[in-house]
């Protein structure tokens, strides 16, 4: 199992990773880990843990076996695209599982235990959920030990997987949502992208900076951060130092925003639409827009839906900005760009996939008639089916009087399980599990009905939380639920992988005039977009 002379990384890590995944799946299936998982409050995810553990463990074993037969042989496409890629995929999947089911709960527990010392929950302030932790872990790995050699090829799949996440997200929009959000985003992005581009060009003139530098900086600050810098640098003939300074400035600003935006958004009480619009406009780097939206709310994907529409609008503006900068710079350089160079090469193909999923979903391909309008009830354990942490606090503190024993039991179980569900012990017997859940749902609906009939009195906060719990189990389609689950994992996977692309040296390049001009334009953009969002962007009802 030693490394071959053809430069193939060792097979040992693949055997170890696969073995660990299989062992984890087996321990979860046997129930040996249940007490620990209960203590970490992740026991409701055991089914998914088993599926992921066995599936990826099995794939890993198969890969390790095939790789051992291929050692010392010339590389083929099968080796390059499959056998040498899977180890890195296993590495990220294992990290994602560890972060979601072990690291995040431990961080939350530690944060809660530090409240007497700090006076606040640090995980809430820094939004340390599994998405942010994933990016941080990625950054730490790449800047300390480095990406392990065996995982290097697989880590490159992060970009592709993140794009897959956006494509799957397409299934979650309705025509009305896309029309409303699209209109808001086109206006806001149009105004702020063009505004920032021209503002930076103006600053460049004020500070007497070269056109190549202001050109590349304006694209990075105005459109979509590093992606725009990469796309525009050759067009404006940016010099090495200008590119390095611009990328460093944008990255540093983006990482600061990833932590600051969600906290500010929560402090001022932004709703999902407002925060998604603000993050989608004010955060320079597109990867950090997705991360900030999931940091704001990783359970409910409403914020992500808004933020990604803004991201997509930004990237659609990119060819326009390339054209603007090419003609602005090209006059002096006498260069001409072809239609292929500006539009075809720059067009993000994954947006076609996004629109395809949106169209398929809109035409009902994922939702059989019986599943429309909440006829399909989903009581399965899923974080998205839970009430929000804020609602949970309200429910825990409420003292309800006049409830029947059935209503009281349903209410107590809602507080205990954070969602309408059957008993955890009965989860393998779906009929019994669902029957208990339906009984509990009836109990909660009875509370709401009796409150409406003024038989009992409950506060509006409690009523809202109970209503939300009931609404959460009404699903439109099982396929959509599965696609959404996959999408959330794709985003987590993609962001861990992208975190691994952020090196200390890249951020350290921030400096020179790009830092000065970038700080002025970045803060201006974030502040103005905040004001516009707070005063002019209303909530859009999202499904």
């Amino acid at each position: 199992m030693a490394s071959s002379d053809l430069g193939r990384p060792s097979n040992v890590p693949v055997w170890i990773l696969s073995g660990l995944l299989l062992l984890y799946g087996a321990l979860v299936a046997s129930g040996a880990l249940t007490p620990m998982l209960k203590a970490l409050h992740v026991h409701k995810q055991v089914d998914l843990m088993e599926i992921l553990g066995f599936t990826f463990g099995g794939i890993g074993i198969l890969t390790a076996m095939l790789r051992s037969t291929r050692m010392n042989k010339p590389m083929t496409n099968l080796d390059t695209f499959v056998l040498e890629t899977i180890p890195g995929i296993l590495f990220i999947v294992m990290l994602a599982m560890g972060i979601r089911w072990i690291a995040e709960p431990i961080v939350v527990m530690m944060s809660k235990s530090l409240v007497p010392v700090l006076g606040f929950k640090i995980h809430k302030v820094l939004n340390l959920n599994y998405v942010v932790l994933g990016i941080l872990v990625g950054i730490i790995i790449t800047n300390s030990w480095g990406i392990p050699k065996f995982a290097a090829s697989g880590v490159k799949t992060a970009r592709f997987v993140l794009k897959m996440g956006v494509i799957l997200l397409g299934a979650r929009y309705s025509f009305a949502e896309l029309a409303k959000l699209g209109m808001v985003s086109v206006w806001m992005i149009g105004f702020f992208v063009l505004g920032t581009v021209f503002f930076v060009l103006f600053l460049g003139k004020v500070f007497k900076q070269p056109k190549s530098m202001t050109g590349v900086l304006s694209a990075g600050m105005g459109v979509c951060g590093v992606s725009a810098t990469v796309a525009c640098a050759p067009v404006v003939k940016a010099r090495c130092s200008e590119m390095a300074y611009t990328i460093g400035t944008i990255l540093g600003f983006g990482i600061l925003c990833m932590f600051a935006f969600p906290t500010i958004g929560k402090i001022v009480g932004m709703n999902a639409t407002q925060f998604g619009a603000w993050a989608g406009t004010g955060i320079l780097n597109s990867a950090q827009v997705a991360a900030a939206c999931l940091a704001f709310n990783a359970v409910d994907i409403k914020t992500l839906k808004v933020g990604e529409i803004f991201n997509i609008t930004r990237v659609l503006f990119l060819p326009i900005i390339v054209l603007v900068l090419a003609s602005w710079y090209g006059k002096a350089a006498g260069q001409k760009l072809s239609f292929k160079e500006v539009v075809i090469d720059k067009f993000p193909i994954f947006i076609i996939g996004f629109l395809l999923l949106f169209a398929m979903s809109s035409f009902g391909l994922f939702s059989p008639p019986g599943h429309y309008k909440g006829k399909y009830l989903d009581f399965s354990y899923n974080q998205r089916t839970e009430v929000t942490p804020e609602e949970l606090v309200v429910l825990k503190n409420a003292k309800l009087e006049g409830l029947t024993p059935e209503e009281q039991a349903a209410y107590n179980d809602l507080v205990k399980q954070h969602q309408i569900a059957g008993n955890f012990e009965d989860r393998d017997n779906k009929d019994m599990f669902d029957a208990t859940a339906r009984k509990r749902m009836a109990g909660l609906e009875s509370i709401l009905a009796r409150e409406k009939g003024k038989e009992i009195t409950i506060s509006s906060d409690v009523k809202s939380a109970v209503k939300h719990a009931v609404k959460q189990v009404h699903k439109k389609s099982k396929t959509i639920v599965t696609l959404t689950d996959a999408m959330v994992w794709f985003f987590a996977y993609g962001l861990i992988g992208l975190g691994m692309q952020i090196t200390r040296k890249s951020i350290a390049q921030a400096g020179g005039w790009p830092l000065v001009m970038g700080a002025i334009s970045g803060v201006t953009k974030a502040t103005l977009s905040f004001i516009v969002v707070m005063y002019f962007v209303k909530d859009v009802v999202l499904k």
């Binding site: 992606s227 050759p234 090495c240 130092s241 390095a244 090469d345 993000p348 692309q501 040296k505």
Partner: protein, 148 residues
């Protein structure tokens, strides 16, 4: 005294002091002057977390950066070739981590001495990645001279 003097330079004010010192010693000793330029491999990570672009755009960027670095090195070598025409220096360009690439070049060329510029208070414009004593010293196969 010396047969081969290895001069590591990227043309900054600090490195130009090293160029002058190395040239002076080469004239005095009649040693061969070998000029080394290192293209920092950290450039390959500069697309960072870009995920929106197509691979065509990223490849275009990569080729463009390569071209820019080559052009910068070429400008530097042209200037040195002109300034030190009497010494007829040889030129070497490698890609890698600067400290590793310098030490590797010194080993491969069997240099008798390696000359580099001193750390300046204000860093010159360019890719920010200073070679540190901690990284370079353990790898050195020959004496190191830092030109003040």
């Amino acid at each position: 005294m010396f047969n081969t003097i290895l001069l590591a330079t990227h043309g900054t004010p600090g490195a130009q002091q090293a160029e002058a010192l190395a040239a002076d010693w080469a004239r005095k000793t009649g040693a061969r002057l070998l000029v080394l330029s290192v293209a920092n491999e950290a450039w390959k990570d500069m697309t960072c977390d870009d995920w929106l672009n197509t691979s065509t755009t990223r490849n275009t960027f990569g080729s463009y950066v390569e071209g820019q670095i080559s052009a910068e090195v070429e400008r530097l070598h042209t200037r040195i070739r002109k300034d030190l025409a009497d010494l007829e220096p040889d030129f070497l360009c490698t890609v890698g981590k600067p400290h590793e690439a310098i030490a590797e070049a010194a080993r491969k060329t069997e240099a008798d001495v390696l000359v580099i510029g001193a750390r300046q208070k204000k860093q010159a414009p360019g890719f920010k990645d200073r070679v540190t004593a901690k990284e370079l010293h353990p790898l050195l196969p020959c004496p190191l001279v830092i030109a003040p």
